[in-house]
Subunit: 248 residues, 2 copies
């Protein structure tokens, strides 16, 4: 039976981290809300949120037979061993899960650059605050997170090709995704990122070149970035790359 991924149909969003793992592994899966027919579509997603015991709080969630797994990091922790995308060693698996949760935090902060006051309000109604939050994000948070990820790659005793251990994990795929997201959302501020974080840049390029990932990225299954997702390109929130250094 195929895995069922439940996520909003029109955006990459948080669901994309799961899609990348399923695609890289060549797993049999259904992107439920993007399909039509019985048990498919956004209706099926809403039915899962509103009905039955042990409902998820929000998408994305994954159904695997009787199992329902919610939250990106939880889903990837569940799928990892099944898809061959998790380290075999327990300490490494725990470290990988911690990295995935750090990526989760980064994604929430990236989202809040355009919604610093309320998720329920339009971006246009919190644009002034968004400019202030985006400036702080680019000046302080992005260097902190990406500096950390670059250091993790540098410190990997088996080499900088992967975040954890000597083989691909879902953490590598997720690092590619936040790299791609930053490149889309903040093309000016992130323009010198490959110089500042060369190991993350190299990893992102290697992930993008993997046959299954490359095929997916070129397919219609990959929803283009847009201004409804987590990573949005609003030119007024972007900055010069040097802004970070002048401010600190």
């Amino acid at each position: 039976m195929p895995y069922e991924l439940y996520y909003w149909p029109g955006i990459q969003g948080r669901g994309e981290f799961v899609r990348l793992a399923l695609e890289e592994a060549g797993a049999d899966y259904v992107d439920v809300a993007r399909e039509r027919g019985p048990g498919r579509g956004v209706k099926a997603l809403m039915a899962m949120l509103n009905g039955g015991a042990a409902p998820p709080f929000a998408p994305p969630f994954l159904r695997d037979g009787d199992m329902v797994v919610s939250h990106v990091a939880n889903i990837l922790h569940y799928l990892g061993p099944r898809l061959g995308l998790a380290p075999a060693d327990e300490a490494q698996r725990i470290f990988a899960h911690g990295l995935q949760l750090t990526i989760t935090d980064f994604v929430a902060e990236a989202h809040d650059t355009h919604h610093p006051i309320a998720t329920d309000l339009y971006y246009e109604d919190q644009k002034t605050e968004a400019k202030a939050r985006a400036a702080a994000f680019l000046a302080h948070r992005v260097p902190k997170y990406f500096g950390y990820f670059d250091r993790v790659l540098t410190d990997n005793p088996t080499g900088a090709a992967h975040a954890v251990g000597s083989a691909l994990t879902s953490v590598d795929l997720s690092l590619f995704q936040i790299w791609a997201g930053m490149t889309y959302a903040f093309p000016r501020a992130f323009a010198d990122a490959a110089t500042l974080y060369p190991r993350v840049a190299a990893l992102a390029a290697q992930v993008a070149a993997r046959p299954n990932v490359a095929r997916y990225l070129a397919s219609e299954r990959r929803i283009p970035f847009n201004e409804s997702g987590v990573f949005r390109h609003y030119p007024e929130l972007d900055q010069e790359p040097g802004a970070r250094r002048r401010r600190s």
Copy 2:
């Protein structure tokens, strides 16, 4: 060898969710940054962040022999089976981890009520934005989260005494903590919470009355809530309890 918890010494913060699990289980642990001597204190915490391979991104993290586990949900997922605070069933354990991650998201949103623009800036420098974010948090997010948790308790096929299954898990302890935090930070807005979310209220009361938890809460090991932690009481951010209903 005792567990070593690494967290900032002056606040409950995110470390408190781990402390509660260790205290309820009567586990042997050291709250490293609050102790003095070699290998203790904030210096020891900073050394772990800055040195060695596989460093954590931020506190809290737990050391158990050679294992280093970072992020609250990851730590509780690790400790759960060891402390008898996790369900034995896999599907329930996965559901519990999802709930813990939902609590993680709630905690981040509670934090951002007083820091909506930048963690690096003082509260006083983002007070206007904090008022707007706190209003939206109280009007929309708190009802969404606590309504969800109350429903999870209602839907538990083994009864509303616990979030998952028929025994105490770290999710129950964490629900107590966010209940206590909201009661401290927003005493007016949260005044009618026991009416709105009666099952979460009952669970929080039951957790507080457990002998080990009660002994801990009355001890000096429990740091009082204060205005450096996640849950801060700033009267100007609080609201009338009815504000939520008038706004929606």
